[in-house]
């Protein structure tokens, strides 16, 4: 079973399994069935085709921040690293903070959609403060507001997070500044890594 799993790990169809294992269709179906029984297979339908995601991680269960972003965002992410969480469902607030901390352009872009659903601003503020990204969250919120309908940020979050005079500008992603959102950058003293064109996938 381990050998089979290793050979078939990844995204497969019945045809690709037939090719890899050099077997006929009914044997390929049987192998998928036996891997599924062990918990290694997740199936998606694409048109009238079945796509099999075969991985040890499917058996490990748990949920990842990327699963949550992919659940809500129109911008889909391939999962660059495995970060699984067990025993609790990661909150949207945690997911947003995680996304910011990845410093990955696409992950942050995809996570903007979470502002549509975030409603525990106290928790978001606590997490943002703990990770020193309050202003980053504020700036990204203002950016998200420009492209989608989002829940209103509570005043306490905004007031507590706005920069003081002596604060210096910070990057969300090193050396990336926006040409189109300098007003938001000025408000939060945060350089945004996006231009208007980057946000087209949301429109």
């Amino acid at each position: 079973m381990k050998d089979l799993l290793q050979k078939l790990s990844g995204i497969q169809t019945i045809e690709s399994i037939k090719d890899i294992l050099k077997v006929n269709k009914s044997m390929a179906v049987y192998y998928v069935y036996s891997l599924r029984k062990k918990g290694y297979v997740k199936t998606k339908r694409q048109g009238n085709k079945r796509i099999y995601n075969i991985s040890i991680n499917n058996k490990l269960k748990g949920e990842s921040y990327y699963d949550i972003i992919n659940q809500y965002s129109p911008i889909k992410l391939s999962i660059p690293i495995i970060y699984k969480i067990y025993g609790k469902k990661p909150s949207l607030e945690e997911t947003l903070i995680y996304a910011i901390k990845t410093k990955s352009l696409r992950t942050i872009l995809a996570s903007l959609v979470l502002f549509k659903r975030i409603n525990d601003w106290a928790e978001l503020y606590r997490l943002a403060k703990e990770n020193h990204v309050e202003r980053q969250v504020g700036a990204l919120y203002d950016l998200a507001r420009k492209i989608m309908k989002v829940r209103r940020m509570n005043k306490k979050f905004r007031n507590n997070s706005l920069p003081k005079k002596e604060y210096k500008y910070q990057y969300i992603i090193q050396d990336l500044k926006s040409k189109d959102f300098s007003e938001i950058e000025k408000t939060w003293k945060i350089y945004l890594p996006f231009n208007e064109k980057d946000l087209e996938e949301y429109k």
Binding site: M1, K2, L5, Q6, S9, S55, I56, N57, K59, L60, K61, G62, I81, I82, Y83, K84, I85, Y86, G87, K88
Partner: protein
């Protein structure tokens, strides 16, 4: 034996008893299970960054019934053996920074990219397969050789990572690292007929020769 499901349940139970958030590194069979090389393991091997974190973990497992046992029975008389805790046939081996003859180095920590978090309090980072091979040579039991074989047969090994880590271990004061690793790999190559390039073994013994000079 501990299955994948049981291992998850166990770590979840421990997480629920922990009084503070801690990060640990899974090595050995535990790491191999998370990485998909094994279905079960004899023990859960964890490396802690400091004694304080290990103590917190010990408190948690004691509270669910685990009892301390003598490491000599399993590891013999070796330095840096783990503190061991047992409940029925399930066992935790708890190391702090050093795993027998190796230091769980900063490079190893950086390579441990896969993360599994249990509730809010227990973050388990999984050692990279290259580092698992390296640490397997420290214990040198038959099952360790078999585990190393499984990894070598499953992925494309970047032997430079292993050689460079052996050099790093020497710099960290583990002077026997290249010698032990060289012997271990030679044994796997000769007796288990594994495809380990001869130049890798030679490079390791060249390091040893330089050390002697």
């Amino acid at each position: 034996m501990i299955s994948i499901d049981r291992q998850q349940q166990l770590l979840l139970n421990v997480a629920r008893k922990l009084k503070k958030k801690i990060t640990v590194y899974a090595v050995g069979g535990t790491a191999m299970m998370f990485l998909g090389y094994k279905d079960s393991t004899l023990d859960i091997d964890l490396v802690f960054e400091n004694e304080k974190d290990r103590n917190l973990f010990k408190e948690a497992i004691k509270s669910i019934g685990y009892q301390e046992m003598d490491a000599i029975k399993v590891y013999g008389i070796k330095r840096n053996t783990p503190e061991m805790f047992k409940l029925d046939d399930e066992r935790f081996d708890l190391f702090v920074v050093e795993v027998i003859d190796f230091i769980f180095s900063d490079n190893m920590r950086k390579r441990a990219e896969q993360i599994h978090q249990f509730e809010d309090s227990l973050v388990v980072k999984i050692a990279d397969p290259h580092d698992i091979i390296l640490m397997k040579c420290a214990t040198d039991r038959i099952k360790d050789k078999d585990d190393a074989r499984k990894i070598i047969n499953s992925i494309k090994i970047d032997w430079d990572i292993i050689i460079n880590e052996a050099k790093n271990q020497i710099e960290l004061g583990k002077t026997k690292a290249a010698f032990e690793l060289g012997e271990f790999l030679e044994d796997l190559k000769v007796n288990m007929k594994l495809e380990i390039p001869q130049k890798v073994v030679n490079k390791l013994f060249d390091i040893v020769k330089k050390q002697i000079k």
